[in-house]
């Protein structure tokens, strides 16, 4: 892939105003699919979670999943949307083998929810209100594997294989209105917006909400408007952005790429672009053309959805607290400073820390591990921290430290093991033999050995130079590969010196 020319970010912002728009797809965690009673289940052997409806076999008819309707309404309400008095499904016609029917059942002119807004808070404390145009229901498509060709991509492939397990999984697509005024914060806003949506769906409990598994997928639209022109630019739509980190990077990249083209008098092609996590670039996909003429028409196999005031009010009453209120409550409950809390929000780790605390960890310990070692490893690997470990494992790890079974240093090794897939913290402790040695016998033996090598230490301590003990403690820790309880070693050394 040829490297696109990029303009310096600040320079790009001087010349152009970025205009954003997002389409976020949320996979609902219902037991069954949107229109069939096949299991809605991630993974599994290919083509096992399907019914004739999911394959669009002749004579099969879709029937709407009631829970998916309830979840969609709840999500719409949480996004501050109006819920349509009557809403309808539509066929979106296209030829692509990810669905066997040659159409996707979606919603077009009568979405279930419309006109809402979400307040998104940035690191600076700036709050941007993102207007929601609509949230509509649709079915997910199957998964393609492209065979032949060098890259596993569709280009150059000889043929493709289709697994329809995901076909028909309920989705809600949340579409924003055009977002102007984000300015320099555009990339951060993109990330914070998706993170806020994720927080909302986690608190509603309507999705597994794992970006790396595609439970939340973001298509990011961006265009640049030359300053003072009052004209909108041509937009691109970047797909395949599957982590919070990528959302931010992809927007920044597109701003720099588009600015470089426009500054040279070039034009932006309205097209789909694909984000490549490994190279940190986008590449051209399909240009928008008449292939995007989907010939929507009302789905004749399904009847309108008319939720009724009673259901809407029942679901409204059951809504979890709004994100802003929740944040205020958590910040107080955890006694975090403004800076500490904001860092957590920016890192998109609010949910992880909340769940770790719910598992019994102290808030500060949870913050320390998520924002420290776990975030560091995530950063090193270029992934989201939430993909590395579960809150349950982090909480267990902290419990082992709190009970004195692990030192921080050992805990880092245990964490490595957990991330490497060696099991729970306890399992890693057992398998790697990483327990802190607080057995005095073993410690004293190691101390004797260290003292033999540095015979003058005890003398120095007796002369009042207590810090000399450090050399022995260091030697013992080294000899025991960090498994020694340093505080106990220190006590024992001082005891030996008669202190």
């Amino acid at each position: 892939m040829a490297k696109a020319e990029l303009m310096d970010y600040d320079k790009a912002l001087e010349l152009f105003e970025p205009v954003l728009g997002f389409e976020v797809h949320v996979e609902l965690n219902t037991k069954t699919k949107m229109f069939s009673d096949a299991p809605n289940f991630f993974g599994g052997e290919p083509n096992t979670n399907i019914t004739p409806v999911d394959l669009g076999l002749p004579g099969s008819l879709p029937v709407v999943n009631e829970t998916a309707i309830r979840y969609s309404i709840s999500l719409g309400l949480a996004l501050g949307c109006q819920i349509a008095e009557s809403s309808r499904f539509a066929r979106k016609n296209y030829f692509y083998p990810d669905l066997a029917k040659n159409y996707q059942i979606s919603q077009f002119d009568e979405p279930i929810a419309y006109e809402g807004s979400v307040d998104v808070e940035l690191a600076s404390g700036r709050v941007v209100t993102v207007e929601i145009e609509r949230a509509h229901m649709e079915e997910d498509a199957g998964k393609l594997t492209h065979i032949g060709g060098a890259t596993g991509r569709i280009q150059g492939a000889e043929y493709s294989l289709v697994d329809y397990n995901r076909a028909g999984v309920p989705l809600v697509e949340i579409v924003t209105k055009m977002i102007t005024g984000a300015e320099h914060d555009a990339p951060e806003l993109a990330k914070a917006y998706v993170s806020t949506i994720r927080d909302i769906i986690v608190s509603l409990g309507i999705s597994d909400a794992k970006m790396e598994r595609g439970n939340i997928r973001c298509d990011a639209n961006i265009s640049l408007s030359p300053r003072g022109s009052g004209k909108l630019g041509t937009r691109t739509e970047t797909k395949n952005v599957n982590s919070l980190r990528s959302v931010e990077r992809a927007i920044r990249y597109e701003i720099q790429r588009q600015a470089a083209i426009l500054a040279k008098g070039g034009t932006i092609i309205q097209e789909t672009r694909h984000w490549h996590e490994d190279t940190g670039q986008t590449s051209a996909g399909r240009p928008k053309s008449d292939a995007d003429d989907y010939r929507y028409f009302p789905e004749p196999d399904l009847l309108p959805v008319v939720p009724g005031i009673a259901l809407i009010e029942e679901l409204r009453a059951a809504l979890p607290e709004a994100p802003a209120i929740r944040r205020k409550r958590l910040k107080e409950a955890w006694s975090f400073s403004d800076l500490e809390f904001q860092d957590v929000v920016n890192a998109g780790l609010l949910v992880e820390i909340e769940e770790t605390v719910a598992e019994g960890a102290m808030a500060q310990s949870a913050r320390k591990w998520w924002m420290g070692e776990i975030a560091r490893i995530a950063n090193e690997r270029g992934v989201d921290a939430a993909t590395l470990v579960t809150p349950i494992d982090v909480s267990s790890l902290i419990a082992l430290i709190d009970s004195g079974e692990l030192t921080d240093r050992l805990a880092r090794q245990v964490l490595e093991g957990v991330i490497a897939g060696e099991g729970t913290p306890s399992a890693v402790v057992a398998a790697r033999g990483l327990k802190v040695v607080s057995d005095d016998g073993a410690l004293i033996a190691a101390i004797d050995e260290a003292l033999a090598a540095q015979p003058d230490v005890l003398e120095k301590i007796r002369d009042g130079k207590v810090q000399a003990a450090g050399a022995v403690i260091g030697a013992v820790m080294k000899a025991m590969k960090g498994t020694a309880d340093a505080a106990r070693v220190r006590e024992l050394v001082l005891e030996r010196a008669g202190q």
Partner: protein, 98 residues
């Protein structure tokens, strides 16, 4: 209400139908006739009658969210012209790059 030859050509392309010039002339004229006939409904459908997508006065036909047994992979793939590794095998999707 009418449909033009260009629109028919566009629809044919969207539907992956390769229609020749003569066929386009033929179908465009026929479709135009059909649409004109159906369009007569607009004469009686005044502004106060909402558009309808369904003849039945029903709404909210739902299904409880309960799993029932579906197809095995073998059953699912039994009608497929080609399969590989328990997946449907489909021809190349994109034409060779120019």
């Amino acid at each position: 209400m009418s449909i033009t030859r260009d629109e028919v050509a566009h629809l044919a392309r969207l539907s992956r139908l390769a229609l020749g010039d003569e066929e386009l002339d033929h179908f465009a004229a026929q479709l135009d006739g059909i649409i004109s006939a159906v369009a007569r409904v607009q004469e009686v459908a005044a502004g106060d009658i909402p558009a309808t997508s369904h003849a039945l006065p029903l709404t909210n036909v739902f299904r409880p969210d309960e799993v029932r047994s579906g197809l095995t992979a073998e059953e699912a793939l039994s009608g497929a012209p080609a399969t590989e590794r328990d997946r449907f095998r489909v021809p190349r999707i994109l034409e060779e790059e120019a």
